[in-house]
């Protein structure tokens, strides 16, 4: 729909400023509500109530926490590189907001008498822009870890940057299929291309990979290795206090909302109503589309919270292996399949050739998986045999074989 792009580009200067402010306010409010929502939901999953004292249902809890944080003493460690130490949280907190500039949060609406849409701007490479801004955000984490002048933050910063970079690859690859189908990188075009089927259904594997990698990308449980409390104290923000810490906190949650918004835009049809509810889009003068967008983002955020409430943290090597050896190869194979299918459909190939191609892919997949199973079984067999046959030299007992010696009941009673 070119009209929507034109509507946005026709905005007068003052409206752009107002919209920028609105987007900012939306993000900050979302963060406050998200923290409250997460604490309440996780509490319910653990049979607790969660914050319910400040304001109605504890809604103002995160506001109170924010005020408290801001009033705390701001400590800059003596060993810290002062300038970088101050810049790092600023980088984190600014880049996370920038992604929202190209996210279409509503359809055409009237705002202060002007016909426009709740989207700051539209650029032809919008999604690439989001990815690049996200990778600039990593600098905030790396620099924070490095400039703290302390070991744990350094390790946490390195871990988290390695993690974000690796999962950004998987994330970027999972978007390729979307680009292929939408034929554009502009967020508006991608939303419009989904008016029949959401890409979450059409490109289900891409959606799953994106959903996994967005959790890795935002350093969230079960991938929150960067701030593994038991190992690294607080990770990269260990040495931060007061407002600077609050900025990192804000950045984390805005990032979560950001990736959820991107997922909504790319896979769940953006601001459009779910199929069959299209008539709602004209309610409230078009503003009801914003409500749909918000509901979808909240759904994603709920999954974030659900994951956190359910899964234990992964080990670092398992996590990296999963990213590099499972997500990325699977993604590449899937993109190849999608690309060929897309080529067929665009060139009007016959149904039989598509079916033949699908059959070939299926056969290759089955052969590959059976080979994999066989190799795995062999590996387990080898491991088993090495366990069973005694070595020709003395070896310490394997951990699972060491048993605590228990005194039989009869003997114990005699004593």
């Amino acid at each position: 729909m070119d009209s929507m792009r034109e509507i946005i580009l026709d905005d007068p200067g003052w409206l752009i400023v107002v919209k920028a402010l609105l987007v900012f306010v939306f993000c900050v409010l979302c963060t406050l509500m998200a923290i409250w929502f997460e604490r309440r939901i996780v509490a319910r999953m653990q049979l607790r109530l969660g914050p319910n004292r400040v304001g109605k249902f504890g809604l103002l809890q995160s506001l109170a926490d924010g005020v408290k944080l801001a009033l705390k003493e701001d400590v800059i460690p003596a060993a810290a590189d002062k300038i970088v130490f101050i810049i790092a949280p600023i980088i984190s907190a600014t880049t996370c907001f920038m992604a929202f500039a190209v996210i279409p949060m509503s359809g055409p609406v009237t705002m202060f008498g002007q016909e426009t849409a709740f989207q700051l701007t539209d650029i032809p490479v919008g999604v690439l822009y989001i990815l690049s801004v996200a990778s600039v955000g990593v600098y905030g984490i790396v620099l924070a870890g490095w400039s703290s002048g302390s070991t744990y933050p350094l390790l946490g910063g390195l871990r988290s940057s390695a993690q974000v970079i690796s999962y950004e690859i998987a994330m970027g690859l999972s978007l390729v299929a979307v680009f292929l189908y939408a034929g554009s990188m502009s967020t508006i075009d991608i939303v419009d291309a989904q008016d029949q089927f959401w890409y979450a259904i059409v490109l289900f594997p891409s959606f799953i990979i994106y959903a996994i990698s967005m959790v890795g990308e935002t350093n969230r449980a079960p991938f929150d290795l960067a701030e593994a409390e038991g190992e690294l104290v607080g990770g990269f923000h260990t040495e931060y206090s007061s407002l600077k810490f609050a900025l990192f906190f804000l950045a984390e949650y805005v990032n979560i909302v950001g990736v959820s918004a991107l997922a909504t835009t790319l896979f769940l049809g953006g601001y459009n109503a779910p199929p069959g509810l299209g008539f709602t889009e004209s309610w409230l003068g078009g503003w009801f589309t914003f409500i749909w967008f918000f509901i979808k983002v909240t759904l994603f955020f709920f999954v974030f919270v659900w994951l956190r409430g359910t899964l234990p943290r992964l080990r670092y090597d398992q996590f990296m292996q999963f990213g590099w050896k499972v997500l990325i190869p699977a993604n590449v194979a899937w993109i190849m399949v999608v690309a060929v299918l897309r080529y067929f459909t665009l060139n009007g190939a016959s149904r039989t050739s598509i079916l033949i191609f699908g059959g070939a892919v299926l056969v290759i997949f089955l052969i590959g998986s059976s080979l994999y199973e066989r190799a795995k079984a062999k590996k387990i067999e080898i491991e088993q045999s090495s366990v069973d046959t005694p070595a020709p030299f003395p070896v310490p007992e394997l951990p699972m074989k060491i048993s605590t010696f228990t005194v039989p009941r009869a003997e114990r009673e005699r004593e």
Binding site: L49, W306, K401, F405, P408, E411
Partner: protein
């Protein structure tokens, strides 16, 4: 033989754990089950007690604040022996005994506790003092709201710890119930105060 038996059993357990299938549909289902556990937990009854507004009674034998008990006529049971202070692993109790006289009688027998302090910043509520007390003068109540804002307020004096006077009790010091001695008190033959015991 008895040495080998338990070991073999454990080896068997280890082998079993190796044979658990690592992938396939069953573990995936188990994963989903885990997600269902957390999801359904949201709709269960929460266990939180809204404490300052709602107060649940403690267990009947909960170790709360101490109490210095009285005989049925109001004389104190504490004889100032300091066994509680000696038993205390946290050194939270301070006792100074003094002699009873016929004019100033606080407890049956020779001695009574003149100064009795428990420092609740040190007390660990283990109850060893209660076990040590030979006259059952010291017991624990179920009261647990002991927070305060200064060290001094948390050192409880004798008057803070003494049991309240019930009906039929007279405040110590006062003489024995007419015609009785300390043994009658210890054997529980004094059941209430006599009007003649009242001191002006």
């Amino acid at each position: 033989m008895s040495e080998l038996e338990p070991k073999r059993a454990i080896d068997g357990a280890a082998e079993e754990s190796i044979n658990i299938p690592i992938d396939g549909p069953a573990p995936l289902l188990a994963q989903l089950k885990g997600f269902w556990v957390t999801f359904s937990a949201q709709f269960k009854k929460v266990t939180t007690v809204q404490y300052p507004e709602v107060k649940e009674p403690t267990a009947p034998r909960f170790h709360g604040r101490h109490q210095l008990n009285r005989h049925p006529d109001g004389l104190e049971k504490c004889i100032g022996c300091e066994l509680c202070a000696w038993a205390c692993p946290a050194d939270a109790i301070y006792v100074e005994g003094a002699d009873n006289s016929d004019e100033q009688r606080y407890s049956p027998g020779e001695r009574y506790g003149k100064v009795y302090q428990i420092n609740y910043l040190r007390c660990i509520f283990c109850g060893l003092c209660i076990e040590a007390c030979p006259t059952r003068a010291l017991t624990m109540t179920n009261e647990y709201e002991l927070a305060d804002d200064s060290r001094k307020k948390l050192i409880f004096e004798k008057e803070d710890l003494l049991a309240p006077l019930r009906s039929g009790m007279l405040p110590a010091p006062h003489p024995y119930y007419p015609g009785t001695d300390d043994q009658d008190y210890y054997h529980g033959r004094v059941t209430q105060a006599h009007p003649s015991q009242e001191q002006k």
